[in-house]
Point group: C2
Chain length 282, copies 2
């Protein structure tokens, strides 16, 4: 694995790769890598010839009161995991390489960004779309691999890529879970032992909601049942939202017809100062 920190060096290296007609796969990350990220690397290794992973804790997608300063940074152990996963290039730019002082451009998406994570974290998705546009133009991959765990981010980036005609295929990797329950997240390390146990409530609430709507139950009753399960399993947790939404637009659904549209059930909850999100597709 070759670790590269500058845009110009990465461009040179990948230009040689392209000359050999090899397909490039790209996995953008913020580091603190876990099995979820590594499953995306594995997908890329299967579907492309050369895999590029970026580690960039993107300052513009954190709100003023969020955890940018304390976000886990574990570059050394991340790099070992990527060597083991047989990644070809690790791109680790400084913030000043991506955002020099003169930087003044933003990419923004309306509508799908305006609810749920977008409402709770103003500016978050604009930070995400801007940095991904920059990284796509640097790496120019044939395929980009994203995790279903961040379902709204997936919907936002698919919208941006379609709207701006980025010539890249988007491949979504399934959510990886600890013991089939808590979705892998770099922020799970913030959880106390008790919170970790209670956090099972997210996947339990989603499963209940999903099973009820699939059996024909009305959405408001299925949601209520999901909330009850959450409260029983996680007396110290606090649900921020639990809803069934259109998978592309993230508009909430008021009725559900399985044959009509792909739907996703989404949940966000707080345990102390830690926010967790999860989802299941229906």
């Amino acid at each position: 694995m070759r670790t590269i920190t500058t845009i110009s060096e990465l461009r040179r290296a990948l230009s040689l790769v392209r000359q050999q007609d090899k397909r490039i796969g790209f996995v953008p990350t913020m580091g603190a890598l876990h099995e979820g990220h590594l499953s995306l690397v594995k997908l890329s290794r299967h579907q492309t010839d050369v895999t590029v992973v970026s580690i960039f804790v993107n300052p513009t997608q954190f709100g003023a009161n969020e955890d940018l300063a304390s976000y886990p940074r574990t570059l050394e152990s991340d790099a070992s995991k990527l060597v083991e996963a047989e990644v070809d290039f690790l791109f680790v730019p400084d913030a000043s390489e991506i955002y020099p002082r003169s930087h003044a451009t933003a990419v923004s998406v309306r509508d799908v960004t305006e609810r749920y994570e977008g409402a709770i974290r103003p500016g978050h998705f604009q930070g995400v779309t801007t940095v991904v546009a920059i990284l796509l133009n640097i790496v120019q991959p044939h395929a980009m691999f994203l995790g279903q765990k961040d379902a709204q981010q997936v919907a936002v980036l698919k919208r941006m890529i379609a709207d701006l005609q980025f010539p890249v295929e988007v491949v979504i990797g399934e959510t990886v879970r600890e013991n089939g329950k808590l979705a892998m997240s770099s922020r799970n390390i913030y959880l106390s032992a008790n919170e970790r146990t209670e956090s099972e409530a997210l996947s339990r609430a989603l499963a209940e909601f999903r099973s009820l709507v699939l059996s024909g139950e009305a959405i408001d009753r299925a949601k209520q049942a999901g909330m009850l399960i959450f409260e029983k399993v996680a007396p110290h947790g606090k649900v921020e939202y639990l809803d069934i939404v259109d998978s592309e637009t993230f508009h909430p659904l008021t009725s559900f017809e399985p044959l009509n549209q792909p739907a996703t059930i989404i949940i966000a909850a707080r345990f102390g100062s830690t926010r967790l999100i999860d989802n299941v597709t229906v």
Copy 2:
């Protein structure tokens, strides 16, 4: 010349060109082609192997009270001129091809967009940056050719391309003038015979301003002299702005040191309902 209306067909055609390791040049236009556009085509023909011209009257860069509906559309004569200029591909998409109903993404640039044309035409530059980002991702050219006539547009697009790391070289073509005076513009056809004569005032005012600052005159006095010339030559014209600015940021300069920074003198004026802009670099 091959005329193409869909994104998928253009992608297929250009993918064959790229496989032959040919360099692609791109000239984005809104049609109503004149000698200014054709000089850009000529530049592209000299510097690249395959030239793509787009004609797309981009609705998002027109304000609600502007001339979108009446903007000159002369596709047949444009196409003949491009055949004669030995263009390889003419891309003429419908608005619905570039902006399908689901379109929700915008590219915006701060600061350099906020003065002059950006202040007078709110939303104009966001329309320009968004459509050029889309076209760059469709065409993926090695070089894009822009006219110096739209100096602030050049500064805005250079900023966007640098900030988002688009892998494209930007080549600027000099302003082409009628009899060395009125800058070529698709909107010149709106001018009456008398307005056309008076419109010489723009280039005369710029030349006076330029010659005075180069000879060491203070900026406010050079500007005043430029305004006097304008008013003498064009009693029916109305200056919207006349200023000397930093060529990259479009911040107005209050003092001018020729060795310090590239500067541009810019002017906008109205003749009846027709707006004309022009500039000279210093």
